[in-house]
């Protein structure tokens, strides 16, 4: 008995000493890197809902998921969507840039390319971007951000068709007995707004009016009308469609249906976030009403008022680029590649962490919703921005979306009309001086026209006179020339 006690005592001491030694060893080595430190990729994206934002947690979760797959740590940086232009202006002139970044406006890739911040991706795509190449089978789409001969940004895989639509709050329409089923054209809305205004002042009928039912050929200076089905380049500001839009805005402004721009929150998602707006007139896309319903936490409906079509500019909406001086372009491309092929990555980026920000409603069908106790108000990652990231068709279906949403979107993508200039890349350099002058003129007048200021006829006449003086005809001639050449080239290929 005694001997046993002594032995156990000795064993205990040895163990304690060993433990102490190990403890000291550990605390001594704790600060040293494990074996080989993996490089860290900084990934830039944007947030749209900053309440209780859990960006860091999602970043950590993403890193844990991605690091073993690509051999690099990733760190997400979120910028405010509304202020993104500040960030991109900064990037244009500085060297302090993320390794891979989202560009969610059509103009950003060109801006970044001209500032020399984008890396040509052809070789990287061939080597590390197999899944991207396999996903984007449409060569036009793949080469949509081509400058010179190289691809500089990869477009996100999302809805590609657009059109004219009115989006409205179903609840409001029902409450005030507004008949939305009879609406066939944008002009029909006036009666609905009048009916709403007759009953209440609590709602502003329209938050914004802005749509494109022509192919803008990149800058609206010389466009293809009729959903891009005409091959003749015309001056947008002389068309009936544009005049109609202006007149409607003026009418609504006069009647007080429009939000006053004097005192407003100018934000992309102000409509969904502000329940006092009844509707907005805007460009259509297939998943619009679902994402907005989730954003607003109430049912949104969308009435399509034109055929759906797709044009080059519309394809440029969201894309990803790699910084020209990125130290590990291979790893950055591997990460982009994952965004096009790995549902885990896509769902983390879109919906956050399972069990924290979302949980399964129906695992088999891939339908998810908020976990118990989590709401739009207190969730740390209520972003719903699947279209910010590579391939939104890999993401789960949020509760309330149709289960076959992505199939629907793909069907619309495949069946939509295509502008005859689909894939045409216009080079404005031969007429750059005219473009600059015309843009200034057009900006000044469209700001007035689309805000219902002044007299439409007078302003349009003035606008067109000034545009002619600034050389819009030369621009249109150059556009027409390039387009004809391109169309001839396409025909030859066929």
């Amino acid at each position: 008995m005694k001997r046993k006690a002594i032995i156990s005592c000795v064993v205990a001491i040895v163990l304690l000493l060993a433990g102490l030694g190990a403890f000291m060893l550990c605390s001594g080595n704790g600060k040293q890197p494990e074996t080989e430190e993996l490089p860290t990729l900084e990934i830039l994206t944007a947030w749209v809902n900053a309440k209780n934002f859990d960006g860091d947690k999602v970043s950590e979760a993403l890193d844990a998921y991605v690091a073993p797959l690509i051999g690099a740590h990733v760190k997400l940086t979120f910028i405010e969507q509304e202020q993104s232009w500040l960030t991109y202006n900064q990037y244009a002139v500085s060297e302090d840039m993320p390794d891979a970044f989202l560009m969610f406006q059509a103009g950003y890739p060109r801006m970044m390319y001209e500032a020399g911040k984008l890396m040509p991706l052809d070789d990287l795509l061939a080597q590390y971007g197999q899944n991207i190449l396999a996903t984007i089978t449409d060569k036009t789409l793949l080469r949509i951000h081509t400058f010179g001969d190289s691809i500089y940004a990869v477009p996100n895989q999302l809805d590609r068709a657009t059109g004219l639509c009115v989006e409205y709050r179903v609840d409001v329409a029902e409450r005030f007995g507004l008949d939305m089923s009879g609406i066939r054209s944008i002009q029909d809305l006036t009666a609905v707004y009048e009916a709403l205004r007759a009953q209440t002042d609590a709602y502003i009928p329209v938050s914004e009016v802005g749509y494109t039912i022509w192919d803008p050929l990149s800058d609206n200076l010389g466009v293809l009308m009729n959903l891009g089905q005409s091959s003749r380049v015309v001056n947008l500001y002389e068309t009936d469609e544009f005049r109609e839009m202006c007149e409607l805005v003026h009418l609504w402004k006069e009647k007080g249906f429009l939000q006053s721009m004097d005192s407003s929150i100018v934000a992309t998602n102000v409509f969904t976030r502000s329940p006092e707006f009844f509707s907005r007139v805007r460009n259509y896309n297939a998943s619009l009403k679902y994402v907005d319903s989730a954003d607003a936490n109430e049912q949104m409906e969308c009435i399509l008022l034109s055929d759906v079509f797709t044009h080059t500019e519309h394809l440029k909406r969201a894309s990803w680029g790699i910084y020209a001086k990125c130290e590990h372009p291979d790893l950055a491309m591997k990460f982009l590649n994952l965004m096009y092929s790995d549902p885990g990555v896509m769902n983390l980026l879109t919906y956050g962490i399972e069990g924290v920000h979302y949980e399964f409603v129906d695992r088999e069908k891939g339908v998810i919703g908020f976990p118990e106790g989590v709401t739009l108000e207190n969730s740390g990652y209520a972003q719903f921005r699947s279209y910010f990231y590579g391939n939104e068709f890999l993401t789960y279906i949020w509760e309330g979306y149709p289960e076959d949403l992505w199939a629907q979107v793909k069907r619309v993508n495949d069946t939509a009309l295509r502008s005859i200039a689909y894939g045409f890349q216009y080079d404005a350099t031969p007429v750059s001086r005219e473009v600059r002058q015309c843009s200034t003129v057009a900006d000044r007048y469209t700001s007035l026209l689309l805000n219902g200021i002044g007299d439409v006829d007078t302003l349009l006449t003035q606008l067109n006179t000034e545009l002619k003086a600034a050389g819009i005809d030369r621009i249109m001639a150059e556009k027409q020339r390039q387009l004809d050449a391109w169309l001839a080239q396409m025909e030859e290929k066929e």
């Binding site: 005592c9 000795v10 001491i13 102490l20 004097d262 005192s263 407003s264 100018v266």
Partner: protein, 564 residues
């Protein structure tokens, strides 16, 4: 007063308790002290952070004010809005003003809304821009409407003060409002307190759970800022001089101390060491102390119950084994010594008995009486007289003899008496010669020693057919720096047999040898041994003529009180 005693267990337990108490108190004190120190440092650091943040916010407020003044006094667009009736010109002027307002809120995150109010009679213009910080349009419009209402009222009542930051509360939000006016044009800015709180909390993003509170301060505050260490949080506060707001941030202590977790490691180390010490003590207790305790216990019980029994302690400890063996040997030796002493005492008693016996040898007197009788038959009266006189003196000496040392002279007298008696017994057959220096007469000597030797020569060395003699010679002799007297007794007899020589010259003599033969000599030897120990020496031998020779050296010992 009895001095208290402690057992080893008590001492060890006491020491352990003391050690643990001291260590625990020490560590506790250190850790509390350290924690408090760190808390204060962290709090001061946090206060610095807050101070920087507040001065940044103040700077933004001042910039906003300047911006507003600038717009009021030197902006042509405002004048255009006021005075022009041209719709397009007014619109463009508005756009220009709005873009200015927009710039302000984009450049300064300490404000949420900037506005300009131009109460034109025909159509009042209220221009404003709001940042995208989560304000919903409804709230935004409501606050602005409130401002417009108050400004319209103001023409009569002046309810809103100018050029200073004021707090306006409504149902679920508190706003910090600043405005000014010039020439009928108002401009201003506002921000929700929750926005300022969020900004402040963001400045403390290193500590989760930082809670910021803002409240309006009195006009003349006692302090501009500082910190306070509370129960389980740290409270830092700083006043915004521009807005007159006291910003208070409560930081949980564990968040502040997140980065100083090493101290727990240190405490853990110390605790481990204490644990080790305790275990070591316990082990030494079982390995060292307990065997000793067992040893002491067995010694104690042994001394109480069986003093002579060897103690048995099982232990692997060498010292214990050695000590046990030593104690057992000592016990054995003590026992043996006790027995020896007992035996020696017994022997002494026996020597004394023998001595008595020797002194009262009856047959000698009977012989003497029968000689006297024979002398009477032949009428030798003179001889009878002499014989009886000698015998009387002889007997008187023997009976009066004690064990005390006597002067050599007395002994010699006695020897001469005896020799005379023998000469009378054996006329012409016996002669006694004595050669003793007169200076030795005071030398002290045990009684009846020389007599015994002479008697032995007479008893055993007398030959009936020749002239026998016994010679006694004594002289002073120094041996090993010790004065002494050498006695030599020589006779003309047959000498000692070989066996007798061996027996008498042997170093040890025991009265209990059992033989009556030579008992007188053995008794003498025993007595000399008792009195002188090893200092005296007696040598038995045979001389050249075959007679016996005894050489006895006795030290001069005045101080020794002979007992034999």
């Amino acid at each position: 007063m009895k001095r208290p005693t402690y057992s080893m267990t008590q001492v060890i337990v006491m020491m352990m308790v003391l050690m643990i108490a001291v260590s625990v108190t020490g560590i506790g004190w250190l850790s509390i002290y350290q924690k408090r120190d760190m808390l204060h440092q962290a709090a001061a650091g946090s206060h610095n952070t807050l101070q920087t943040h507040v001065s940044d916010v103040d700077a933004q407020f001042i910039r906003l004010e300047n911006f507003m003044y600038d717009m009021l006094f030197s902006n042509q667009d405002v004048n255009t809005i006021v005075f022009s009736d041209d719709e397009i010109a007014v619109y463009q002027a508005k756009q220009s003003v709005i873009s200015l307002l927009d710039q302000m809120i984009r450049l300064m995150d300490a404000t949420e809304c900037t506005w300009v109010y131009i109460p034109k009679e025909t159509s009042p213009v209220f221009l404003s821009r709001c940042s995208h910080t989560g304000i919903i349009s409804t709230d935004y419009q409501r606050v602005n409407q409130w401002i417009i209402d108050r400004l319209s009222d103001q023409i009569q009542k002046k309810p809103l003060s100018h050029a200073r930051w004021e707090v306006y509360e409504d149902a679920d939000e508190t706003y910090l409002i600043w405005l000014t006016q010039s020439g009928g044009v108002y401009c201003g800015t506002w921000v929700t307190l929750s926005r300022l709180q969020r900004l402040t909390e963001n400045a403390f993003s290193f500590a989760d759970g930082a809670v910021c509170q803002l409240r309006l301060e009195a006009e003349d505050p006692k302090t501009d800022g500082g910190y306070e260490v509370l129960q389980d949080s740290v409270c830092v506060f700083q006043r915004s001089r521009v807005a007159g707001l006291m910003m208070t941030v409560e930081l949980p202590q564990q968040e502040i101390l997140k980065n100083v977790r090493q101290s727990t490691g240190y405490i853990a180390c110390v605790s481990l060491i204490i644990l080790l010490v305790i275990i070591t003590t316990l082990i030494s207790q079982s390995l060292l102390f307990r065997p000793f305790q067992t040893l002491f216990a067995s010694i104690r019980s042994a001394s109480r119950e069986q003093p002579d029994a060897p103690i048995a302690v099982k232990s692997g400890l060498q010292e214990i084994v050695t000590t046990t063996r030593l104690i057992n040997r000592l016990t054995a030796e003590i026992t043996k010594l006790k027995i020896d002493i007992y035996e020696t005492q017994l022997e002494r008693k026996e020597v004394q008995c023998q001595y008595l016996q020797i002194r009262l040898q009856a047959h000698f007197y009977l012989n003497c009486l029968s000689i006297i009788n024979a002398m009477a038959q032949v009428n030798k009266t003179e001889l009878i007289q002499e014989m009886t006189l000698c015998l009387t003196q002889y007997m008187r000496f023997l009976y009066g003899a004690s064990e005390k040392l006597i002067p050599l002279e007395k002994e010699l007298e006695h020897v001469r008496n005896y020799a005379r008696i023998q000469e009378l017994r054996f006329p012409n057959l016996f002669q006694y010669h004595e050669a003793v220096d007169s200076s030795l007469m005071d030398f002290l000597i045990p009684p009846i020693i020389l007599h015994t030797f002479i008697e032995n020569s007479v008893e055993h060395g007398m030959l009936h057919d020749q002239n026998n003699w016994v010679r006694l010679h004594a002289c002073f002799d120094m041996r090993e720096d010790m004065p002494g007297v050498l006695f030599t007794i020589t006779d003309s007899g047959n000498g000692f047999s070989q066996r007798e020589l061996e027996r008498f010259n042997a170093p040890e003599h025991h009265v209990t040898d059992g033989k009556l033969e030579g008992i007188g000599i053995i008794n003498v030897l025993s007595r000399i041994q008792i009195i002188y120990g090893q200092r005296a020496s007696i040598r038995f031998s045979n001389n050249d003529q075959g007679g016996a020779q005894i050489a006895m050296w006795l030290p001069m010992q005045d101080e020794i009180e002979g007992e034999c």
